[in-house]
Symmetry: C2
Subunit: 210 residues, 2 copies
C-alpha cells in the first residue's frame, strides 16, 4: 500500500543476495517452467521435468520455489514484468481513461491468446494459491494494478474511488480470463466484459461531485 514510492520496487523483505550462479539457476528454472507451461499448460509443468530441464536437482528446485504453485506464480511475475515493459513502450491511443484501460487489457489479452497454455498454467496457479503464497500473489496483484494505473494515465494520485474501480477491474480481468481459458466464454465475451467494467472508471472522475 505504499502509494507510489516506486523508485525501485520494495525488493521483498530481506532476500539474501544471490550469487551469480544462483541467479543463473533461478533464471534457468523460470525459463524451463515457462517453456513447459507453454506447451501443455498447468499439468505439463512437472517438478521433476522442470528440475531436469533446468539442470538442477529436485531438492534445489524446491529450495528456490517451495511448491509448484510458488513456481508458477513467480513465472507469472516474470511474464508480467515483461508485459508491463512492453505496454509502456506503446501507450494506449484512446483518450478516455476507461477506454485506455480497456484497450490495454485487450492487448494483454491478445498476448495471452498467443500462449494460451502458458496463460492457463499461470492463471490457474494464481487462483489456486493458498495463504502460503499470499506475498507472491500480492506482488502479481500490485504489478497488475500498476499496469492499469499506467493505462489510465492520470496526472495526480488516484482517488479512493478510482482505486476501488481498479480493484474491481482486476477482479473482472482475472475471472474473465479463467472463463475464457476453460472454454466457457468466447473472446468476444471477454471483450464485452472488460469494456463493461471499464465504464466504472468514467464514474470516478477526479472532480466528480458526490
Amino acid at each position: 500500500m505504499g502509494h507510489m514510492t516506486s523508485e525501485h520496487r520494495p525488493a521483498l523483505p530481506a532476500t539474501p543476495p544471490l550469487t551469480e550462479r544462483q541467479e543463473a539457476r533461478r533464471r534457468r528454472i523460470l525459463h524451463a517452467s515457462a517453456q513447459l507451461a507453454g506447451r501443455g499448460g498447468f499439468d505439463a509443468v512437472q517438478m521433476r521435468e522442470v528440475a531436469e530441464l533446468s539442470n538442477v536437482a529436485l531438492g534445489t528446485l524446491y529450495r528456490y520455489f517451495p511448491s509448484k504453485i510458488h513456481l508458477l506464480v513467480a513465472t507469472m511475475q516474470d511474464q508480467l514484468q515483461h508485459m508491463h515493459a512492453t505496454l509502456r513502450k506503446r501507450p494506449p491511443t484512446e483518450s478516455d481513461p476507461g477506454a485506455r484501460v480497456a484497450q490495454t487489457l485487450m492487448r494483454a489479452f491478445r498476448a495471452m491468446q498467443r500462449e494460451p497454455h502458458l496463460a492457463d498454467a499461470m492463471v490457474r496457479a494464481l487462483t489456486f494459491a493458498d495463504r502460503s503464497v499470499s506475498p507472491e500473489v500480492d506482488t502479481v496483484s500490485r504489478l497488475t494494478t500498476a499496469i492499469i494505473l499506467d493505462a489510465m494515465g492520470l496526472e495526480s494520485a488516484a482517488t479512493p474511488e478510482q482505486l476501488s474501480a481498479v480493484r474491481v477491474i482486476e477482479h473482472t480481468w482475472h475471472s474473465a480470463l479463467i472463463t475464457w481459458l476453460s472454454g466457457r466464454a468466447s473472446i468476444a465475451q471477454v471483450k464485452i466484459d472488460i469494456e463493461t467494467v471499464c465504464r466504472l472508471i468514467e464514474l470516478t472522475g477526479p472532480q466528480r461531485p458526490e
Copy 2:
C-alpha cells in the same frame, strides 16, 4: 441461456434415472464432502476419506464424481441451491436494484464467513476446474446469475446491458471471494468491491437512452 423458462430447471441432458439406493449414495457422498470440507477446506477433502465416510468404495466414488474437482463443484451446486432457496424467502429490502444486489451478495458472503473452510474448498475447486468440468461449472454460474437476477427484482426480461453487468458482478464476486479466502483482502474490502461493481447496474436502467 434460456431467458427465464424456469418451470423446473432443465434437468441436465439425459442423466439416466438413479435408483433410490443410488440417490442415497450420491447424497451421502455430497454430505461427506461438505462435512470434510467444512473443517479443513480443500486439502481435507481426501477421496479415500470421502469414500470411507460415505460408506462407498473408492471406485464407486469415482463413478459418481469423476474427480475431486467434480465432487467439490457438485458440492457447491448443492450448497448454492440451498442458498438460493434461503435468499428467496427473505428478499432484499433496498429499493435500488444495485443496492438490492449488493445486499443479497453480502448476505451470501456472511453465510460463507460462517463456513470459511467449506467456502474455500468450493471456490478453489470452481476456479481450478478445467474444461472437463465446464458443464458443471456452467451450472453453478447459471445458479449465481439466477440469484443476482432475482435480487434485482426486475419486472421485464433483462437487457443485454444488464446481463453484461451481471456477468461482471459475478466475476467480481468470485474473485473477491478468493482474495478474502486467501487472506489478501478484508471483509470490509470485499464489501467495498461489491458495492463498487453494483453501481454498474444503475448505469443500465431499462429505459436508458444511448
